[in-house]
């Protein structure tokens, strides 16, 4: 097995008495989509926040490219090559779609010395996610699904090594979800590492090569999609007969 580019070791996050994440270890490998699934409230987004530095873990470590980044600022992690999208939209609502992506591309200028042109990168990303037609609209006026694509393009404009996607398909219809999946494929084939939180199981099973299952903050299973689907622990703890949690 290849060395993971990003890994968390024994992450614990406690909010008061509530243990949101307990001893979660996640490995993300380059050139592949790693899934992180689990019922609502399992601690998936909290894991993302720990990896990107928005949430300080109570204990545990985060490694990126062999370096301990647990105490690094969020912006420093971004500069090292970690990008993300958010479960609830975090677009820049008073900027146009183009400016949203341009801001990220220009920001990349501060650490990436490859001499790229931010405007060109911005246009390329708009093209890739299919937003060229609406690029001059303020993001606040765009439908949720489109705004989600803006967020994705913004993250990709950083030319990251690891991309964390928090429920990218919510707000997208089936067709758009498929487009998103094939778009992801092209980036992963170029060597990008993706960590994916997702509720749409056909999406997860179709795109992920490796899956971590989180339940009540604990990793209860890891493996390939086939292994996960066959895993009795996952079946009982997560899939069960109850599907109500999923509907939201």
């Amino acid at each position: 097995m290849t060395e993971p580019i990003l890994s968390t070791q024994d992450i614990v996050v406690r909010f008061g008495v509530l243990q949101a994440v307990s001893h979660a270890s996640i490995d993300v490998v380059e050139g592949r989509v790693t899934g992180l699934i689990g019922p609502n409230g399992a601690g998936k987004t909290t894991c993302f926040n720990v990896i990107t530095g928005l949430q300080e873990p109570t204990s545990g470590k985060v490694f990126f490219n062999g370096r301990d980044i647990t105490n690094k600022n969020p912006y420093k992690r971004a500069r090292m090559g970690i990008a993300r999208t958010f479960q609830k939209l975090e677009v820049f609502g008073s900027l146009s779609a183009r400016e949203n992506i341009l801001v990220a591309a220009e920001q990349r200028k501060t650490w990436d010395r490859s001499g790229f042109d931010p405007n060109a990168v911005c246009n390329e990303m708009l093209e890739k996610v299919g937003l060229s037609d609406v690029s001059e609209f303020m993001v606040g006026t765009l439908p949720t699904g489109t705004a989600r694509l803006v967020e994705l393009a913004r993250a990709l404009a950083l030319n990251p090594r690891v991309l964390l996607l928090d429920e990218p398909s919510s707000g997208l219809n089936e067709e758009e979800t498929e487009e998103m999946a094939s778009l992801l494929r092209t980036f992963v084939d170029e060597g990008l590492a993706v960590l994916l939180v997702e509720h749409d199981m056909s999406f997860v099973m179709g795109t992920c090569e490796y899956i971590h299952v989180l339940d009540f903050g604990t990793i209860i299973a890891t493996g390939t999609p086939a292994e996960i689907q066959a895993n009795p622990v996952v079946q009982s703890a997560y899939l069960g007969t109850e599907t109500v949690e999923e509907a939201s």
Binding site: T52, G53, L54, Q55, N73, P74, Y75, R77, A78, R79, I82, A83, R84, F86, Q87, K88, L89, E90, V91, F92, G93, S94, L95, S96, E99, N100, L102, V103, A104, E106, Q107, T110, W111, P118, E136, F137, M138, V139, G140, T141, P143, T144, A147, E151, R154, L158, G171, N173, E174, D200, M201, S202, V204, M205, I228, Q229, L239, T243, E246, A247
Partner: protein, 734 residues
Amino acid sequence: MRGKLNGRLVAAIVVALILAFIVNKNWGSASFFDSKNISTFLVVGIALGGIYAITAGGLVVTYATTGIFNFAHAAIGCFLAFVYWQLSHQYHVPLLLAMAITLLVVAPAIGILLDRVIMRRLRDASLVVQLMVTVGLMLTIMGLTLTIWSPKTSRTVPHFFESSKGVQIGSVTATWHRIITVVVALLVAVALRWLLYRTRLGISMRAVVDSRSLAGLVGAKPSVISGASWSLGCMTAGLAGILIAPETGLVVENLALIIIVAAAAAAIAQLKSIPMAFVGGLIIGLATAFSAVFLQFGKDYSYASEAIPCVILFIALLFLPQARLSTGKIRLTKRTERLTKPWEALLGAFAIVAIVGAWANGWIPWFTGTTFGQRSAIWLGRGAGFLVFGLVMISLIPLIGWAGQVSFANFAIAGIGALLFVHFGGGDGNPMGIVWVMLVCAPLGLLIALPALRLKGLYLALATMAFAEFTDKVIVRHPRLLDPSNSGVLYKPLKILGFSISSEATDRKAFVMFLVITFALLFLMLELLRRTRWARRWIAMSDSPAASATIGVNLTTSKMAVFMLSGAMAGFAGCMLGLQNGALRVDSFPMFAGLPIVLLLAVQGVRYPIAAFMGVLGLASFPAISELFGNPSWLTQLALIGPGIAAVAMAYRPEGAVFYTGRDVAGWLPWRQDARDEKKLLQAKEREQNIGKDEINDLGLTRPFTEDKVAQLDRVLAITDLVDEKKMVPGGAQ
């Protein structure tokens, strides 16, 4: 963890050392070991602290339950103290009855009115709008109070049982008033505690703080609760106002300034802990009494004791834990606008110069008459003054409008800049002085923001307001900066590009022209800056700090940059302020004077540079309106009430007048086909989604579920089609 603790410890030691130094240096003649001094200090301090505790406790309760920090808290208390005075001393209602009417009838009525008309609309508003509305409310209430009860008559509220001697404690007598104050404070503390922890209403109030929607689901009525908490806030404010009025006198400014005290105590309480708010109030009361009994500030710092709450607020901010970058709280406004093109900005700049130039040269017929709005030396002088305020406004656009950092300190920075300019060349007519002042004011702007940079935006607003007060009471009163005995003109006329600029009547037209040209240039500069990566980064940072950080934005340095830019611009405005005034007095820069400037800008729309010019016109309109009516006595406070009411109206029109008019006017311009299209699109969208909140609530109850209503509901809730069952079960498709 350990590193942070040590950092705090070091900070604590440094602060303690500095305080010890100040105390030691300004120690008066009183001996600390004299039991009389000690007991005076304790009796006065605890009584004063009790009053502060009451008002701070009420402020924290409202903030915690409604999420709105009420800058008008102390002003409401002030108004209620006047009501009490009117009842008891004019209508001769017995004291207790007057107090009961004020606190149990008038105060809750004001609270419920505020809740219904204003505060509920602010729940989901941005911080900028929340702050502007409550600051506007503060000015409105102050203005109303000053209008009803003219400040020319002096009024006193006697202490309770003034004729009785009081109680001997140690070697001092505690007056009954003080004893009653302490008892009342304790009762209020117990009552608040009981209310919040033992009553159904209180428990729902605390639940609402945690989650409004969840509390609503389990049967708490958010509307009743917010009404109750605003009433409670007004009652505590009024009680504090009545209790403190005998000490400070019934003076509007003094009573409204207690907001700084309440804010400092609230900061100690981290805006949520009611017991800590009481502790905070007590600390401030004790510190004030300590300084009154033991300290003797030198004549250079004669007003320093009045700045104690500001200093305590700053110290509290140093020890607050860093704010987490929260997610999921962004607001997506449906604003349709596009960037101003450079040629449009150039046109705007020319229009600004043309309009003001035509007025100043007497080319607008209506304004050349002999009475109203005449182009007299007086109005030219006023015009220069409004343009100077406009320069302060324009300095706020990148800071508040783009970076979302609400600062009330820019007028104070301008004041300091005006004084510095005297020493840096303005006194000799050297234009280079302006550059030096700007270079000093840039880091000054940063210095103010420093303690609040890592905290949430509300604390920054509090810190800047405290700094404005500190400037007024300590900085500009230092004789090295401004010689109080010199009442003459402090500046020599400035010769720039053939203009001679000074406060002289003969130079006024040239001054107005110079000001409007620099104003237009700054406007152009900002419009061009808006198109660069700097402005984009600031706006991104303001829209979503968390997302900005995750694309690699260093929030701290970005904020620092915008504070420096704004500080430098305020410094320039300061030089002009000094020149325009000519002579300066130590009381030229009160904290309250800076607020209408910020409000009028916000009312116009703080993210658009042109709003600063509209703000100038707004400023000019108040004396003009007053003159139009023949300067009646009921309009004397228009300069306070006007901006105040306009800002309160932002609860209904949060984006600012420039936005709303711009949206409508843009469609008229022949080259703005895009605006017409977008308007049509928006109207169609609104028609489609035309289902009100009330309608949703009543659907199925008093309104029938019709097919089209259900379809509308689906659209509003973004339910596109039936839930796909297969998607829900992993591997369900097998």
